[in-house]
C-alpha cells in the first residue's frame, strides 16, 4: 500500500544500513537502489531498454561508470539530463543515496547478486537460533523481547497454529504443565495436517469446480486428502514436491504418487463454447509455471510470459524453457468431464461418509414411516368429510373473470362463460394479461384452455399458437410493488420431446426464454388444448390483492397469438395441478375414487408428513451423492503424451504468436541444471529442492513463518525478487532454510524449532512504539484469524465439530440463493444434513465462481495465493453475527451453559471460547446482557420460539453469540 510504504522503507533502511565503517553492500544497498530507480529502462528487457544502457549486469554498469557519465547524470540539475528523468515520475535520488553510490564507486564498485539468489549459509549461533538473531537485532535498536505470554494465551496460540482449532477444555493432554509435550501432542494430532493443508490448498488454487462459464464440478478432492495425509505423516518437503511434480513418472509409482500430480491440474479450466481449446491449454501451462514460480521460488514469473523480466534475471526464453516441462501433458484444453488425463481413483475416506449418511437415513426412515402411519387416521377423517362434502358434486376449477390488457393492441373480450377472445388489430407479437381477484381460500394452480376459433387456435396464418412464456404476479391495490409468484410445474395434454430451444413443450413457458415455449402444432387445431400450471407453494391472497396472469407471445417469427382461451384456478394441491384429467376429488364425486391419488393429495397438505418426508428426501439425496463419491472417481492428474510437443517462445505472451523453439531448461541465474538429472518433471522437481537452489527452502520457511507470525520474515511472500521486500532478519531466514534442508526438509522439525523460541512465545499485548509493525519482532504475533479458523473454532468450542478426516466435500450453511442468483438457478445449494454439516471448513465445497460466503478475506482459489489479506469490515461483523453456523454454535454453547450450575454458566462460556475465566468487570457486563435478554424473552416467549428456543435458551444464545464475536475470540493473540 503506497501510503504505508515510506515508513516501511525507512525502517527497513535503518534496519539494514550498517555503520559506515563497513563497505557498501552491493546486494543490500546498491542493487535495490538500481532496481527501484534505473532498471525499468536499463534492465535486461531489451524491448524497453533506453540508450542501449544496461545497469543490471556488471559489464553494462562498469561501462557506464567508465564513461564517467553515470554520477553526472544522477546529480544533474538540468531536467533534460537528470536521471531518473522527471517523466518517469521517479523523484531525484536523495543526498544519502548519492553519497552511498559515490562510496560504492570509491570502494571499487563491487558487483554481486541479489540476496535471494545467493546460496543461504548458516551463521554461528549461541542458544536458540531464532532468539539469537532476533535478540541481536533488538539489542542493536535498544529494544528487547516482550515478556512471555500467559499460559492460556500461549496454549491457544499453539493450538490454533498447529491444529487450527482452539484448545479443548475436555482434553487434559493439552494442559500446560509441560510445554514440550503439549507441542508434541499438537503436531501429532491428525488436525495438524488439516491445518497445514488449508494454506497449501490456497497456494495450489484448489477448488471443486472448473471456474469460468460452465463451472462444472470436478472430483479432485482425493488430492486434498493426500495433502492432509502428507503433512500428518511428515513427508519430507522435497519428497512432497517431487511427488506433486512428477509422481506419475516415478518408478513403480503408487496411486497416491500419481494422485499427487493433481497439484498441477488444480488450475481453472474454461469450457466456454467458442473458446479455442489450444488457447486454453496454453493458459493452463502458463498457470503451472506461474504457480511453481510463486509457491516454490517466490518469483513473479508471470511478468516474463510477455517480456523478459524488468528486474529479475529471468528472460522470456527462461520462462518458456520452464514452460516446456509442462507442455507435453496429454491434455487438449478441454474442461468439464473431458479434462484428461485422469487417474481412476477410489478414496479410502469415502466409506466413512457413506456410513455416516446411511445412519442418518436409517434414523429418518422410521420417522417418515411413522408420520405416514400417523397420517392414516386424519386421512380417513378427511376422506369421509370430503365424501360428504362432494356428494352433490364437486368442481375443482373455478373460471377466472377480470380485467384484460394487451401490450400491443389486440382487443380482448371476455364472455359470461369466461372465454376470452382476441379481435381487432393482430400484432406480430403480443402479451395478454388477465387481472383477477381470487375468491378461493388459496391458489395452488391454474388451468389454461386454448380454444379453437373457426378451426384455428391462433390468429396467425397457420392457425397454430406459440405461447413463449407465462408470468404470474400479485399486486396489492394501492401499492407500487408487484411480486412474482413462482410457478414450478407445467403439463399439457400435448406431449412432445422438444429440445431446450424449440417450440413445443409447455415447460418452455416457465423460463422467460422467448426461444422456447408451448405450441400444439402437429396436434388437431380444431380441438381445445389444456395446460396445467402448479405453483411452487400454495398462495394465499389478501382481500385487497389481485392476481395478474400474463400470456406472452414473443416467438421469433411471431404471428402466433392465441385466438381464444379460458383460465381457471384451483385450491387443490398435488395431483390436481400436476396431472391432466379429473382431480382426485372430482373422481370421488363421480363415484370413481382412486385411493392413491386421494392419499397423495391429502399428504401434500399434511405438514407433519411433509416435514418428515423432506427431511428423509434430503438425507437420501445426500446418501446417493456420497455413494457415488465412494466409487471410482476421475481425478485430474499429469501424464505425458507419447509425442512431446514443441515449445515456442510466445511473442508478447500471445498463445498463437509462436517465436523460437526452446528446450526444457531452468533459469541459470537461480541454479544450474545438475548433469545427472533427466530433462523431465522428475528432474525439475529435484532441481527445485536441490541444495544448489537458493530459493525454495527460504520461500517455504518464510511461508511457515508467515503462518505462525501473521507476516513473513520477507513480507512479500510471493516476491523474493528485486522488487520484493528484503527480509527483516536475513541471517535468521538463511539459518532456518539451511537447517530445514540439513534436516531432510522436515516440516514438523522446522515448526517445532520456531514455536519453542522465546520470540514466538512472547506476549502480543503491547506494541512497542519504536516497532509499530513488529518488523523487529519485539512482541508476539497478533492478528485476526482467517475466517475458516474462526468458523472451525466456533464449531469446536461449542462441541458441534465433527472431527472426521477426509472424504467428499460438504456444504456448510450459506444464505439461501447465493449460487442460484449467480447461475440463474443452474446450480442449487443444499446445505449438508446431519453430522456432515459440522465438518471443518477445509472440506467445504468450493465453487470457483462463488466461494463459500462465510470465508471473508480468503484466497480466491482462481490463481495461486500465498500472501494473506486481513481487512476489518462491517460485512465481516454481519457474517459473524448472523451466519447460521455461528448461530448454531451459540445455541449449542447455550445448551451447555444451561446444563451447568447457574453460577458456573458464564465462566463456562468464557472457558469454552476463550480458554480463560472472565474478570469481575467482564462478568458484570456479561451478566447485565444476560439479564436484559432474559427479561425480554420471558416477557416475549414468542420471540424465543422464533429462535426455536425457550426464553432461557434464547437469552443464553445471545450472550454466547456476543462472546463468539469478541475481538479476543477471533484474534490470534
Amino acid at each position: 500500500m503506497p501510503r504505508l510504504m515510506p515508513k516501511h522503507l525507512l525502517l527497513l533502511l535503518t534496519l539494514t544500513l550498517p555503520a559506515h565503517a563497513d563497505p557498501v553492500s552491493f546486494s543490500r544497498e546498491v542493487m535495490p537502489l538500481l532496481s527501484d530507480n534505473c532498471l525499468s529502462c536499463h534492465g535486461q528487457d531489451a524491448g524497453h531498454r533506453k540508450a542501449d544502457l544496461r545497469l543490471d549486469t556488471q559489464e553494462g554498469a562498469h561501462e557506464a561508470l567508465k564513461s564517467g557519465d553515470f554520477m553526472a547524470r544522477i546529480v544533474s540539475t538540468d531536467p533534460e539530463e537528470i536521471m531518473p528523468p522527471p517523466k518517469s515520475h521517479k523523484p531525484a535520488l536523495k543526498a544519502d543515496q548519492v553519497a552511498m553510490l559515490k562510496r560504492w564507486i570509491a570502494e571499487g564498485a563491487q558487483w554481486g547478486k541479489h540476496w535471494s539468489l545467493e546460496k543461504p549459509v548458516k551463521a554461528k549461533v549461541e542458544g536458540h537460533p531464532v532468539d539469537f538473531f532476533v535478540k541481536a537485532r533488538l539489542t542493536q535498536e535498544g529494544l528487547k523481547l516482550s515478556p512471555k505470554a500467559p499460559p492460556h494465551t500461549l496454549l491457544r496460540r499453539l493450538s490454533f497454529d498447529l491444529t487450527g482449532l482452539p484448545p479443548s477444555i475436555q482434553d487434559p493432554a493439552s494442559s500446560f504443565q509441560d510445554l514440550a509435550s503439549s507441542i508434541e501432542h499438537l503436531v501429532s494430532s491428525p488436525h495438524f495436517g488439516e491445518r497445514m493443508a488449508m494454506n497449501w490448498l490456497d497456494a495450489a488454487r484448489y477448488a471443486d469446480t472448473d471456474g469460468f462459464q460452465s463451472d462444472a464440478s470436478r472430483t479432485n478432492w482425493p488430492w486434498r486428502d493426500y495433502v492432509v495425509e502428507s503433512f500428518n505423516t511428515n513427508k519430507p518437503f522435497d519428497q512432497f514436491t517431487l511427488e506433486q511434480f512428477a509422481g506419475d513418472l516415478l518408478p513403480n509409482a503408487t496411486p497416491e504418487q500419481k494422485l499427487a500430480t493433481c497439484f498441477h491440474r488444480n488450475h481453472m479450466t474454461n469450457g466456454e463454447g467458442g473458446r479455442d481449446k489450444e488457447e486454453s491449454r496454453i493458459d493452463y501451462v502458463i498457470d503451472r509455471v506461474n504457480t511453481m514460480g510463486t509457491v516454490w521460488m517466490g518469483l513473479t514469473l508471470g511478468c516474463t510470459q510477455c517480456h523478459s523480466h524488468k528486474f529479475d534475471p529471468i528472460s522470456q526464453h527462461d520462462y518458456y524453457s520452464l514452460h516446456a516441462f509442462f507442455n507435453s501433458i496429454d491434455e487438449d484444453g478441454s474442461a468439464g468431464t473431458k479434462a484428461q488425463p485422469y487417474l481412476s481413483y477410489q478414496s479410502p475416506h469415502a466409506k466413512r461418509a457413506v456410513d455416516e449418511t446411511q445412519k442418518l437415513v436409517d434414523a429418518r426412515k422410521p420417522i417418515e414411516a411413522k408420520a405416514k402411519a400417523d397420517a392414516a387416521k386424519p386421512f380417513e377423517q378427511w376422506l369421509s368429510q370430503r365424501q360428504t362434502a362432494v356428494k352433490d358434486g364437486f368442481q375443482a376449477w373455478h373460471i377466472l373473470h377480470g380485467t384484460l390488457e394487451s401490450q400491443e393492441g389486440s382487443k380482448l373480450t371476455q364472455s359470461q362463460d369466461g372465454i376470452v377472445t382476441a379481435s381487432g388489430p393482430n400484432p406480430k407479437q403480443d402479451d395478454y394479461r388477465l387481472i383477477s381477484a381470487i375468491k378461493l381460500p388459496r391458489l395452488t394452480g391454474l388451468k389454461l384452455e386454448v380454444l379453437p376459433q373457426k378451426g384455428a387456435l391462433s390468429r396467425g396464418k397457420d392457425g397454430e399458437f406459440i405461447l413463449t412464456d407465462i408470468k404470474l404476479q400479485v399486486r396489492r391495490k394501492g401499492s407500487s410493488q408487484i411480486r412474482d409468484i413462482l410457478v414450478k410445474y407445467a403439463i399439457a395434454d400435448t406431449k412432445v420431446d422438444a429440445k431446450a430451444r424449440e417450440y413445443g413443450d409447455v415447460k418452455g413457458t416457465l423460463d422467460d426464454d422467448p426461444r422456447n415455449g408451448w405450441t400444439t402444432k402437429g396436434f388437431p387445431k380444431d380441438q381445445p388444448h389444456t395446460a396445467l400450471y402448479g405453483l411452487a407453494e400454495p398462495l394465499v391472497l389478501e382481500s385487497d390483492e389481485e392476481l395478474i396472469f400474463e400470456l406472452r407471445h414473443r416467438s421469433t417469427n411471431g404471428d402466433a397469438n392465441i385466438a381464444s382461451f379460458r383460465v381457471s384456478a384451483t385450491d387443490q394441491p398435488g395431483p390436481a395441478v400436476r396431472e391432466i384429467g379429473p382431480t382426485p376429488l372430482e373422481q370421488l364425486a363421480a363415484g370413481k375414487p382412486e385411493h392413491e391419488r386421494l392419499l397423495a393429495q391429502f399428504l401434500e397438505d399434511h405438514a407433519p408428513y411433509q416435514l418428515a418426508k423432506a427431511s428423509l428426501d434430503r438425507a437420501n439425496a445426500q446418501l446417493k451423492e456420497v455413494q457415488s463419491a465412494a466409487g471410482k472417481l476421475n481425478v485430474m492428474v499429469l501424464a505425458e503424451r507419447k509425442e512431446p510437443r514443441d515449445t515456442h517462445v510466445l511473442i508478447r505472451g500471445v498463445w498463437d504468436k509462436k517465436g523460437d523453439v526452446v528446450q526444457r531448461d531452468v533459469p541459470a541465474a537461480i541454479a544450474p541444471w545438475p548433469a545427472d538429472l533427466p530433462r523431465n518433471r522428475i528432474g525439475l522437481g529435484k532441481w527445485i529442492t536441490s541444495k544448489e537452489n537458493p530459493l525454495t527452502a527460504r520461500v517455504f520457511v518464510n511461508q511457515v513463518w508467515q503462518m505462525l507470525f501473521g507476516a513473513g520474515l520477507v513480507r512479500t511472500p510471493d516476491d523474493f525478487g528485486l522488487q520484493g521486500q528484503r527480509p527483516t532478519h536475513p541471517e535468521l531466514l538463511d539459518w532456518l532454510a539451511v537447517d530445514f534442508m540439513e534436516n531432510g526438509w522436515d516440516v514438523k522439525h522446522l515448526i517445532k524449532l520456531i514455536v519453542t523460541s522465546e520470540t514466538y512465545q512472547q506476549s502480543s499485548d503491547h506494541t512497542n512504539p519504536s516497532d509499530p509493525q513488529n518488523l523487529l519482532l519485539s512482541r508476539g504475533p497478533r492478528f485476526r484469524m482467517p475466517a475458516w479458523m474462526i468458523r472451525d473454532a466456533a464449531l469446536a468450542s461449542s462441541g458441534l465439530l465433527n472431527p472426521a478426516l477426509g472424504g467428499p466435500p460438504v456444504r456448510p450453511h450459506q444464505p439461501e440463493g447465493v449460487w442460484e442468483e449467480i447461475f440463474m438457478g443452474r446450480f442449487t445449494y443444499e446445505p449438508s444434513q446431519g453430522p456432515a454439516q459440522h465438518r471443518r471448513s477445509l472440506y467445504a465445497f468450493w465453487r470457483r465462481t462463488i466461494a463459500p460466503t462465510f470465508l471473508f478475506d480468503s484466497a480466491q482459489r482462481r490463481v495461486c495465493e500465498v500472501a494473506m489479506t486481513r481487512t476489518n469490515t462491517p460485512l465481516q461483523a454481519l457474517t459473524l453475527l448472523n451466519d447460521e453456523t455461528m448461530m448454531e454454535a451459540s445455541r449449542a454453547l447455550a445448551k451447555r451453559m444451561l446444563a451447568a450450575q447457574a453460577t458456573d454458566r458464564l465462566p463456562l462460556l468464557f472457558q469454552s471460547v476463550l480458554t480463560r475465566d472472565p474478570t469481575p468487570k467482564e462478568l458484570t457486563v456479561l451478566q447485565r446482557e444476560l439479564d436484559r435478554a432474559l427479561a425480554h424473552y420471558r416477557a416475549h416467549p414468542e420471540n424465543a420460539r422464533k429462535l426455536q428456543t425457550t426464553p432461557e435458551l434464547a437469552a443464553h444464545t445471545l450472550v454466547a453469540s456476543m462472546v463468539l464475536n469478541l475481538d479476543e475470540a477471533i484474534t490470534h493473540e
Binding site: M1, H89, Q213, D215, E272, G273, G274, R275, D276, T300, G302, F311, S480, Q481, I482, L510, D511, P514, R515, S555, T556, D718, G721, L722, Q723, D765, H766, R784, P815, G817, V818, E821, I822, F823, M824, R826, A851, Q860, T869, T873, P874, L875, Q876, A877, L878, T879, L881, N882, V925, E929, R932, A933, H936, H940, A944, K946, L947, N965, L966, E968
Partner: protein, 473 residues
C-alpha cells in the same frame, strides 16, 4: 448531490442510532477523522463524483441497436470480403461456416437535434438521444465472454485484478459512511443464463477486500448476513453490541491494539447498515409517476428497471460506483425474439434513469455508462436469411454510450467501416475507456498504481492508453 444535502443524509443516518452507546460514541469521535481515499487523489478537479455503469453482459449487437449500415442490404447473403475480415479470429462456433452477411434487422431513426441513429427496438432511448454520447469505435482484444468481460472491467483478461469500481473506491473513498462505496445490482432473470456473472467482475483483486463491490441482492437479505435472526429485536441487538463494544474496549485498554477500535467501529457500521440498506432498497416511498417513468417492470423488485431506480437512490446517497448487470445479451440465434426481449427489459428504464438524474440535477456530476464486453459480427450465425439467425461475438468494434459527468451530450464519436466490422476512425480501446472514466473522476490513470507481486499495476495495463479528449466538455 450538493455538499449540504450530503450532510443532511449523514445526519439522517447518524440519527438512526438509538440511544447513546459506547460504540456509537467511539464512532462519532472517529467520524471526523475518517480518511477516505488516497491523499494524493484526485490528481485534478473531477467532472464526475460518481459512476453508474449499466453493464450489458453477453455482447449487445451494435448492428441492431446503434450502428446503422443501410448499405449492407446490397450485401445480404454474400460472403464477407477477406479485405474486411483480415484474418479476424472467429469463435469455434462459427469458424467452420461461411461468413454470409446478415444486414441489420431493424429500422433506424435519426433522433433529436444530434441525429443519432437509434434502433426502433429502443424507442425510449430515441427520446433522450441528445443527452447521450455514442462511441461507435469501441474495440477489445477478447472474443469470449469471461475473458472479454474480465478485461472490460479489470483491464486484463485473466481474473485476479481489481475491477474499475474497486480501483475507484480505493482511490477516492467514500461519500457516505453508511453504505459501501461500490455497489453491484444484478437483474433478476428467470432463465438460467449462459454467462454467469462471476464475483471477480466486481472483485478487488490484489487490493484489500474492503474495496470489492458489495452485491445488493434481491432477497430478504439485500446484503449477505444483513438481517438479524427472527426473534432478535433491534433493541436487544443494540444492547448486545453495546456489551460487545464494552468488552472489546476493556481488551483494547489492555493491549492498545488499534484493530480493536476499528472493529468496534465496524460493528457499529454493520448495525447502521442494517437500517440504511433496507431503507435504501425499499422502493415503496417512490411516487407512482416514478414507476410510470421507468416502466411497468420497475414495480417488480429485482428487475433491471427497479435496479435503475435503486441506482438513482444510491447516486442520491453519494455511493461512488454503482454497477448494474443485465445478463443474456448473447444472441447467437433468433435475434428478432431474443434481442428484442432484452431491449424491452432495458430501454425504458435506461432512458428514464437519464431523465430522472437530469431532473434532479444529478446528471452533471454522475457519469452514466452503457455497454457490454464486445459487439457482434456482421455475418449471420446459422442460416443467414432465416429468422433463426443470430450473430457471433465480435471484438473489433462495438458501440457504447455515456452521459453526464462532463461528457459532451448529443455527439457520436468514432465510426466503423461499411460492414461495422473494423473501426474506421478514432478507435477507443477498452483501456482508453478506463483512462477516460478515471479522468472524469479526477484521476490520471498513469499515476494511479498499486504494487502487487513485485509489479506496479494500473487499471489501464502496460500498453499506452489515452483519455478520449474529444468527448469531454
Amino acid at each position: 448531490m450538493s455538499e449540504s444535502s450530503l450532510n443532511t443524509t449523514r445526519r439522517y443516518f447518524l440519527g438512526q442510532c438509538t440511544g447513546v452507546s459506547l460504540g456509537a460514541m467511539a464512532l462519532d469521535s472517529m467520524a471526523q477523522q475518517e480518511i477516505t481515499g488516497l491523499p494524493q487523489l484526485p490528481h485534478f478537479a473531477p467532472k464526475a463524483k460518481r459512476v453508474i455503469f449499466l453493464t450489458q453482459s453477453g455482447g449487445p449487437s451494435q448492428l441492431e441497436l446503434f450502428d446503422h449500415k443501410p448499405g449492407l442490404m446490397d450485401w445480404a447473403g454474400k460472403e464477407l470480403p477477406e479485405s474486411v475480415r483480415q484474418g479476424q479470429r472467429l469463435t469455434t462456433m462459427t469458424a467452420n461456416q461461411k461468413q454470409l452477411i446478415l444486414p441489420g434487422l431493424t429500422k433506424f431513426s435519426r433522433c433529436g437535434q444530434s441525429g443519432a441513429t437509434i434502433s426502433e427496438w429502443l424507442p425510449h432511448l430515441q427520446g433522450v438521444a441528445d443527452d447521450l454520447c455514442f462511441i461507435k469505435s469501441m474495440t477489445t482484444d477478447q472474443i469470449n465472454h469471461a475473458p472479454a468481460m474480465t478485461q472490460f472491467l479489470t483491464g486484463h483478461q485473466l481474473p485476479g485484478r481489481p475491477s474499475m469500481g474497486a480501483w475507484i473506491s480505493y482511490g477516492l473513498g467514500s461519500l457516505n459512511r453508511n453504505l459501501p462505496d461500490y455497489l453491484v445490482l444484478i437483474s433478476k432473470m428467470q432463465r438460467p443464463s449462459d454467462q454467469p456473472l462471476y464475483d471477480h467482475y466486481w472483485g478487488s483483486g490484489f487490493l484489500p477486500s474492503r474495496y470489492q463491490g458489495v452485491k445488493l441482492r434481491n432477497s430478504k437479505d439485500p446484503v449477505l448476513y444483513l438481517t438479524d435472526p427472527a426473534g432478535l429485536p433491534r433493541h436487544l441487538r443494540r444492547g448486545m453490541l453495546d456489551g460487545l463494544a464494552e468488552l472489546n474496549q476493556m481488551r483494547f485498554e489492555q493491549t492498545q491494539d488499534p484493530e480493536i477500535t476499528t472493529r468496534i467501529r465496524q460493528y457499529e457500521m454493520a448495525y447502521r447498515m442494517q437500517a440504511s440498506v433496507p431503507e435504501l432498497t425499499d422502493l415503496s416511498d417512490e411516487p407512482d409517476h416514478v414507476f410510470e417513468m421507468y416502466g411497468p417492470d420497475s414495480r417488480r423488485a429485482g428487475s433491471y428497471a427497479a435496479n435503475c431506480i435503486l441506482a438513482r437512490r444510491l447516486a442520491e446517497r453519494g455511493v461512488r460506483f454503482i454497477q448494474l448487470f443485465h445478463p443474456d445479451w448473447d444472441h447467437h440465434s433468433r435475434l428478432p425474439s431474443w434481442c428484442t426481449a432484452r431491449c424491452r427489459d432495458t430501454d425504458q428504464p435506461s432512458a428514464a434513469l437519464i431523465k430522472d438524474l437530469k431532473q434532479r440535477g444529478l446528471l452533471d456530476d454522475t457519469l452514466v455508462i452503457w455497454g457490454g464486453e464486445f459487439g457482434r459480427g456482421v455475418a449471420g450465425q446459422g442460416k443467414w436469411d432465416s429468422p433463426e439467425a443470430g450473430r457471433d461475438h465480435h471484438p473489433r468494434c462495438f458501440t457504447m454510450w455515456m452521459a453526464g459527468g462532463g461528457i459532451k451530450p448529443g455527439i457520436t464519436h468514432g465510426a466503423t467501416d461499411d460492414f461495422s466490422y473494423n473501426v474506421a476512425e478514432n478507435p477507443v480501446h477498452v483501456h482508453d475507456l478506463h483512462a477516460t472514466v478515471m479522468h472524469q473522476l479526477g484521476i490520471d490513470h498513469n499515476r494511479f498504481t498499486f504494487r502487487s507481486q513485485g509489479l506496479d499495476f494500473k487499471l489501464t495495463g502496460v500498453e499506452p492508453a489515452r483519455v478520449v479528449k474529444n468527448i469531454l466538455t
